[in-house]
């Protein structure tokens, strides 16, 4: 074990190397590039024995990953924004064909206008692709989640997307504890999966699913991702026993006796916690709940932790233009409505296109949640930090 200074992207690359992947197929895109750059370096200098496939686009990258995964190989790729969008149709094939691919998605805004900075619109647009989605809040978590992802994916035969915020996590150097490689191998042993395209068996893969078959096949994906909850919990528990860090589906901060809370994902969580901690010192009963596992969505945990609060602010770093609400808010509201629990919910949007979300913005959000509870009625979505 050693404690080093690493960027979020390098933390992911080290996790992939330690997991001893067989195939990496990727196309460079900012701010993901340094992950696959590091991996190609590992392959080139013999530190990682893997097939590194240079492709001409992200569409081909994901296609190569699907093919490689069907042979039973351990497969990794990474992308961002436009790259993820270009993979769109193949993402659905990856889940439909039940290929346990692990992908790091370094969150970046979608054009136009062209923007290389962080928000969550790329991953939110692939919400329904049948992928498990993990979201991290630090470089350490990026490392840990990537390792867990291989184990989860291969156990439930579904692809896993590890989301880390572009620049704010991907390019920030901070302390990361790297475990011994031998311990990592024990956690994710190399185990050849079933080769589903071997000429020996002559399986047919990627067949037509006519109306009398497609529905059942799609439902298998729905069922698998529902059932993955237990596997995710088990893998996380095992990770905790081995490495001393456990994450669960959600990360709760000062929630025990909270009256008000903000719900966040990814890098927004840290600053939200710092502000909550300050407000606690002033006597405000506030907390922060961050969603680590966005798909499958942690319904039980949400109801248990938010159901009895007075007010909850949900911070989306993506928008659903013309929709009834933004993606994270929609899921929180649906979950609570289903269980008949109705804390006052206030919708926020913050930090689009890499706009910094400073301490004062979080103070404003906590304050507004308290205000709307007093008023007894929530306001339309508040676009925090937007210039009039």
């Amino acid at each position: 074990m050693k404690r080093v200074g690493l960027s979020g992207n390098y933390a992911v690359a080290y996790a992939v190397k330690m997991a001893d992947v067989d195939v990496v197929a990727a196309y460079p895109i900012t701010p993901q590039t340094t992950i696959v750059e590091k991996l190609s370096e590992f392959v080139a200098n013999g530190e990682l024995e893997a097939e590194y496939i240079n492709v001409e686009s992200e569409h081909s990258a994901m296609s190569a990953c699907v093919g490689a995964s069907l042979t039973g190989a351990r497969v990794f790729t990474a992308t961002s924004s436009q790259g993820l969008a270009y993979m769109h149709e193949v993402l659905f094939m990856a889940s439909g064909l039940r290929t346990p691919i692990v992908m790091a998605n370094v969150n970046r805004a979608l054009s136009a206008p062209l923007n290389i900075w962080n928000d969550h619109s790329d991953a939110m647009a692939e919400r329904d692709a049948g992928w498990i989605q993990l979201w991290v809040t630090s470089a350490q978590e990026a490392f840990d989640a990537t390792l867990e992802a291989f184990k989860i994916a291969e156990d439930v035969l579904l692809p896993v997307m590890v989301n880390l915020d572009g620049y704010i996590l991907s390019h920030t150097y901070e302390p990361v504890v790297l475990p011994d490689e031998s311990l990592v191998r024990e956690f994710v042993p190399s185990r050849p999966l079933q080769n589903r395209v071997s000429p020996k068996f002559a399986y047919s893969i990627g067949v037509v699913g006519p109306p009398e078959a497609y529905y059942e096949m799609k439902y298998q994906v729905v069922d698998a991702i529902e059932k993955s909850r237990k596997k995710i919990k088990d893998v996380d528990k095992e990770f905790g026993d081995k490495f001393g860090r456990e994450y669960n589906f959600v990360n709760e901060y000062m929630m025990e006796d909270a009256d008000y809370a903000l719900v966040t994902m990814g890098a927004l969580t840290g600053t939200a916690k710092a502000v909550a901690s300050g407000l606690r010192k002033e006597g405000e009963k506030v907390g922060v709940l961050s969603i680590r596992c966005f798909r499958p969505f942690p319904k039980e945990e949400i109801v248990a932790l938010l159901g009895d609060l007075k007010g909850v602010g949900v911070v989306d770093r993506a928008v659903t233009p013309g929709g009834p609400s933004n993606p994270l808010f929609a899921d929180i509201a649906t979950t609570l409505y289903e269980k008949g629990r109705r804390p006052l919910l206030q919708s926020f949007v913050a930090g689009l296109g890499g706009r910094d979300v400073p301490v004062d913005d979080f103070k404003l959000m906590f304050g507004l949640v308290k205000d709307v509870v007093k008023e007894g009625k929530s306001r339309p979505c508040v676009y925090v930090g937007l210039r009039e």
Partner: protein
Amino acid sequence: MSRLKGWKEIPIGGTIVEPGSSVEFDVSSWRTYRPLFDKKKCTKCGMCWIFCPEGAIKINDDGTYDVNLSYCKGCGICQRACAVKAITMVKEG
């Protein structure tokens, strides 16, 4: 109609695990016309074999061609492809 398999019964990922299952698929009753091969005219060029979209043309021991009627849908493409007009399409009885 026979009962179709439920979602728990079919292999995951749309995999067909039994190889060559199309051999069991008989389309004999789909035809209106069937091809008749005239061995005397046949030059063994193999164009009918190449063009048949169903893979229903078989090769005789003497190198001439014939049809496997279990898989022929009677489309007539072999007749069009045959340069020496050794194939005639006749109505099924």
